[in-house]
Amino acid sequence: MIAFEDVAHDYGGGPLFREVSVRLEPGSFHFLTGPSGAGKSTFLKLCYGELLPSFGIVRLMDRDVRTLSRDALAETRERIGVVHQDCQFLDHLSVEQNVGLPLTATGRPLREADLSDLLGWVGLGEQAEALPPTLSGGERQRAALARAIIAAPNVLLADEPTGNLDWEMSQRLMMLMIELNRMGTAVLIATHDLQLIRFAKAQVNARVMRIAGRRLQIAGADL
């Protein structure tokens, strides 16, 4: 689904990481950890084509990202949901308009009932008409999750999705993603919250990857 083959990335000051080879299979659950600045966000950006690798090959839905046209890349992103730490909403649109964007902005039909169900599932049924700046941190993260999954993506990528949340809210959000994974969506979460990883591993068969020493390592079971 998403495959890295001997990938390196370099912003100009030497490689951030190199010799990364990994595959995210359908229905898999991965965590990506590592110290700040290790390249977790860069890794995720490579996963949805916002960045191109400096070296090696990144395949999105079995196609080399370098060979994708702009429209083909956009089409690929329809199948990849992304949750950013800062959520990235259009603040002048309501929560439901933001959540519906992946469908409406790509010309696909949006059923009001599905939207209501989804907002109810993430606990935002009452905030459908609210503007994003009026939401709390937890509500924003859940709205971002709803937007990432409304188009039923094959893969969900989340960059520090619980970074600004308390433990109770973090658990709630994690349970939503675990539930989504149980429905068949591959999940990759970049986080440095080991407590959260332990919580998730108790619920789901998750693999942990760590970027350290400019290499990607598969972590042991000591978390």
Binding site: Y48, G49, E50, L51, L52, R70, D71, L73, A74, E75, T76, R77, E78, V82, Q88, F89, L90, H92, L93, Q97, G100, L101, P102, T104, A105, T106, G107, L110, R147, A151
Partner: protein, 290 residues
């Protein structure tokens, strides 16, 4: 909510570029109305002048008072027998005085002035052999001079043609400046809405969808601004002094009859221009965003 509906909403309705497009389109449309009016009026002037001067001529007889009547009779006879002359009439002293009054004022003693005798000549469509006529007049009435108005007609026609060219160049410049302003406004709108573009790309929106969201906003503003400017320009033209049936450059600037429909093409043209300029700019800017 449909893609078209969300397309109208995704770009926030704020920012200086909105006002820049509105005001510049309005100002440019206002100027375009005048340039268009100048073009139409100068073309009309050229036609009027040519029609008024074509197929007419004047014979001027300057002779001592005791010979003037005899020479007038000779000239009339020459004209009557010249093929290509339809009509020849001696201009009455009152008509001559009216002509001079415009230049010299009303209270001059015209009777005391040594004015030449003027004969108005109307030519047939084929016209006379002008060179032959001049020779006959020189031989039979030495004080008579045949003037076919060429020396007046040519510079007038040239002046009208140049005016029209200036007007058309002005229209082209107005279009060019408008396009340049729209490009700047589009770039500013896209630059100030980087977050909108990032989010839309993130959720899988195609460049065409993103570009159209901006282009619709900009071109609709250009249309509204141009419509306002055109209306103001037309009102200003209506407020100019009436020409009284004659087309003059200052008092006659404007349109007549169905010609008033011409400026109504300016707002749609402004919208098309804005559409093309902003679309090209949007795609250029979007290429730099992954």
């Amino acid at each position: 909510m449909s893609a078209r509906e969300i397309s109208r909403l995704v770009v926030p309705n704020r920012g200086q570029s909105v006002w820049l497009v509105l005001l510049s389109a309005s100002a440019m449309a206002f100027l375009a109305v005048f340039a268009l009016a100048l073009s139409v009026t100068s073309a009309q002037l050229a036609r009027n002048w040519s029609a008024a001067l074509a197929q007419t001529a004047t014979v001027r007889i300057s002779a001592p008072p005791e010979e003037i009547e005899a020479q007038t009779a000779i000239v009339l006879e020459v004209l009557r027998t010249t093929p290509g002359i339809a009509e020849a009439n001696v201009m009455a002293p009152a008509e001559q005085a009216a002509l001079l009054e415009a230049w010299l004022g009303p209270d001059l003693p015209f009777d005391a002035l040594p004015l030449p005798r003027l004969i108005e000549v109307t030519e047939t469509e084929e016209g006379p052999d002008r060179q032959g006529l001049r020779l006959r007049l020189a031989a039979e009435a030495p004080g008579a001079v045949f003037d076919d108005h060429t020396r007046w007609r040519r510079p007038l026609a040239e002046a009208a043609g140049r005016l029209r060219a200036f007007a058309l160049v002005s229209l082209a410049l107005i279009g060019g400046v408008t396009a340049a302003i729209i490009v700047l406004a589009s770039s500013a709108a896209l630059a100030s809405n980087g977050q909108v573009i990032r989010v839309l790309r993130l959720v899988g929106a195609r460049d065409r969808f993103i570009a159209l969201a901006f282009v619709r906003r900009i071109s609709s503003r250009a249309f509204i601004g141009a419509a306002a400017g055109t209306a103001l320009g037309m009102l200003a033209l209506r407020a100019l002094p009436e020409a009284g049936g004659n087309v003059h450059l200052l008092s006659g600037l404007g349109f007549s009859g169905a010609g008033w429909l011409l400026p109504l093409a300016i707002p749609p043209l402004a919208m098309v221009l804005a559409w093309a300029a902003s679309m090209a700019t949007a795609f250029k800017v979007l290429r730099e965003v992954t």
